[in-house]
């Protein structure tokens, strides 16, 4: 057992990685799903134990192949990536019980083995990209997750052919982003000679004025910006989330962009450090306006959507704007907000997309028109949408509120008045699009020709409600999440070089 804990960092990724090929060997039926479920739960368990370990006894460094860093690849777990790992594996652990029926409904039964294999690969990639302490290794694992994500998105083609073009666009932009990231890493390597993040952080300070470093910074940020759908580079996201199968949307929306945000944070704060002049300038002159534009344009676009999945996809663009804004604020509160929102947004979008998956299971397409009057026929599902929607708006006692609280705190700390006002103004846009749905579901008349609709099965409702309850629980008792996030933020700003 001690062996297990000693190698937990490696097992966190290696077990899902091994399980993926095993999954592809399985023959149909429930087996692939069951394997994915077991692995997800193991990963969840591993991430919890890692987080506890980190909080108890400081950073964990695991040397792959027993080669000391910076020569070999190092797994470096500190509070932030333990936290992100927890988000990823937690969402996966909740999403999989939900997945079985939804996937059975939306994906060709003969491809379930491949589907869950791709899912496990995606999980592996996200976990691996998060946990690693090596810049290039991030690229490799993010590409595993991206490639499998393209496949997973394209799996929606059975429902709607637009999944294919969505996946294609995602692929092109994702690859361009990854390549930019690689260029950035190359430039950094060129002048420092190392790929290990800790080592990079040590070797960069004398090179502040080096133009290659600055360009490398820009490339890394733009590359990851593409992957995280930072505002003008978000074009792949809405369609990809809209046409992917429900489970995939749940998983990707809650985790994939989060990991990219994490990578950005890691580079901004651990590797470069906000004390660099150009980093600060980026915050103020690039991140800030882009984040605000994202918040407003994303929300505004969401208001005009008729497809609910796309509506929430656009809302994700806006929410990512909040995370970027938190970074742009550049102080502890802002950063806490970003880290918190990684978690909180995963909770609310996970719940919302799960609920939409339940609706899709019953009525097929999820348009604003289609859900009219469904509130009475699927009370639990729509109550969940309402609950998670409130969280999205940022109503107090939900997680969304906590994030916004810290964001505004951060803005005020900087004395950025208008920003604080804009933050609240943008959450008002969220009221509009969330309420559009509530109103249609509860106060609209059912469209003609729709027969009676039954409530989603318990197997899907239970995970959904777990997420909704979490939305409220962590909104009322935010102590755990905020203390971790606050600790992370403080480390970044204080301890980070």
């Amino acid at each position: 057992m001690s062996l297990l804990f000693e190698h937990m960092a490696a097992l966190q990724v290696a077990v899902p990685l091994l399980s993926a090929p095993v999954c592809s060997l399985l023959r149909g039926g429930r087996q692939p799903w069951f394997l994915a479920l077991a692995v997800s739960w193991f990963a969840f368990f591993a991430s919890i134990s890692l987080l506890i370990q980190v909080l108890d006894s400081g950073d964990i460094s695991y040397h792959m192949g027993n080669w000391a860093p910076p020569f070999g690849i190092e797994y470096r777990v500190d509070a932030i990536n333990a936290f992100v790992l927890l988000i990823i594996s937690g969402i996966s652990a909740v999403a999989l019980p939900y997945a079985r029926l939804s996937v059975a409904h939306e994906v060709d039964p003969r491809r379930h083995g491949q589907f869950y294999t791709a899912y496990l690969l995606c999980l592996t990639g996200l976990l691996g990209g998060t946990i690693t302490g090596d810049a290039f290794n991030i690229f490799v694992f993010l590409e595993i997750s991206s490639l499998s994500a393209y496949v997973l998105v394209a799996a929606g083609a059975r429902q709607d052919r637009r999944a294919l073009t969505a996946a294609y666009n995602y692929l092109v932009l994702g690859t361009v982003g990854a390549t930019f990231f690689v260029i950035g890493i190359g430039l950094l390597y060129m002048v420092t000679g190392t790929l290990n993040i800790t080592d990079l952080a040590e070797r960069l300070p004398p090179l502040v004025d080096n133009r290659a470093v600055q360009a490398g910074f820009a490339f890394i940020i733009v590359g990851m910006g593409l992957k995280l759908a930072m505002f003008p580079m978000h074009t792949w996201l809405p369609n990809a989330y809209t046409y992917a199968p429900s489970t995939v949307t749940v998983f990707l929306a809650s985790t994939a962009t989060k990991v990219s945000v994490y990578v950005v944070l890691r580079f901004l704060f651990t590797v470069f450090g906000p004390s660099y002049g150009f980093v600060g300038l980026t915050f103020e002159y690039i991140f800030l306006p882009l984040a605000i534009l994202a918040m407003f344009i994303g929300s505004a676009a969401a208001i005009y959507q008729t497809n609910l999945k796309r509506l929430f996809a656009y809302s994700s663009v806006a929410q990512l704007g909040y995370m970027v804004l938190g970074i742009a604020l550049g102080n502890v509160a802002g950063l806490t907000a970003t880290v918190l929102h990684l978690f909180n947004h995963a909770l609310m979008k996970g719940a919302l997309f799960m609920a939409l998956g339940c609706v899709a299971l019953r009525i097929g397409a999820v348009s604003i028109n289609g859900v009219r009057g469904l509130g009475r026929e699927m009370p639990w599902t729509f109550a969940a949408i309402a609950g998670a929607g409130l969280s999205l708006i940022g109503v107090p006692s939900t997680v969304g509120f906590i994030s916004k609280w810290y964001l505004i705190l951060g803005a005020l700390e900087n004395g950025w008045w208008p920003v604080a006002v804009l933050i609240v103004a943008s959450s008002l846009l969220a009221v509009i699009y969330v309420w559009k749905i509530i109103e249609a579901a509860y106060f609209g008349a059912a469209p003609e020709g729709r027969g009676p609709v039954s409530e989603a099965p318990l197997e899907m409702l239970a995970p959904l409600w777990l997420m909704v309850v979490a939305n409220f629980y962590f909104g009322i008792d935010a102590d755990l999440t905020t203390s971790v996030a606050g600790k992370v933020a403080a480390t970044f700003l204080g301890g980070g070089s």
Binding site: L121, N137, Y150, V151, I183, M190, G193, R203, A215
Partner: protein, 204 residues
């Protein structure tokens, strides 16, 4: 003398690469593009040899000249052989590209010079790899020892990537001629699909 020749070779090859890239951009016959892509890969592989990256050249030739050309041909065979729209100028694209190129050119001014034996990249980790490959691992090919041992974990990821691609292509293109797969894949979305009336299985 040899070294300078290599430099010249580099530049000539690079120029040819640029030329063939432009040709690829301009040509509308996609099979011709495929053929040129093959040439492009061979050229870049040649350049890689000139730059001492033999392993990479090996891979690039096998992958770029071989597999990806074949894949592209396969795609063309299943789609179309001509680009319908004539090449058109795109200002936003140009601006993005210029910004990217500008950033890189900006960066070049502080980069170590080409071939600089004192470049920082050579000083830090690499000597350990060379010695380690000689003594600890005992593998003459340093690239292999880094690839398989020092950074073996990256390579594990790399295999996973390839595996993902395999799973993905199987997922997307499936096997329609397989005996066990006697039913056609469901792949069309609703809507006005012009080919939906075509039989899924085309006997050969």
């Amino acid at each position: 003398m040899g070294a300078e020749m290599i430099t010249i070779v580099n530049i000539v090859l690079l120029t040819m690469l640029c030329f063939s890239a432009v040709a690829i951009m301009l040509l509308r016959h996609l099979f011709a593009v495929a053929a040129l892509t093959g040439a492009f890969s061979l050229l870049s592989a040649g350049l890689l040899v000139a730059l001492d990256a033999v392993d990479v050249a090996f891979t690039e030739a096998a992958v770029g000249g071989g597999i990806s050309t074949v894949l592209m041909l396969g795609t063309l065979a299943l789609t179309q052989r001509r680009e319908h729209r004539p090449p058109r100028f795109s200002l936003p694209a140009l601006l993005v590209v210029i910004a990217t190129g500008g950033a890189l050119i900006y960066a070049t001014s502080d980069m170590p010079a080409y071939g600089d034996p004192n470049a920082p990249a050579l000083q830090h980790v690499v000597p350990v790899y060379i010695e380690g490959s000689r003594n600890d691992i005992g593998v003459p090919n340093i690239v292999t020892s880094i690839l398989a041992s020092y950074r073996g974990y990256d390579t594990l990821g790399e295999v996973a990537v390839i595996f993902t691609a395999g799973i993905g292509v199987m997922f997307l293109l499936g096997r329609r001629r397989e005996d066990e797969d006697d039913e056609g894949m469901v792949r069309h979305g609703p809507g006005n699909d012009p080919e939906s009336s075509e039989p899924e299985e085309t006997a050969s």
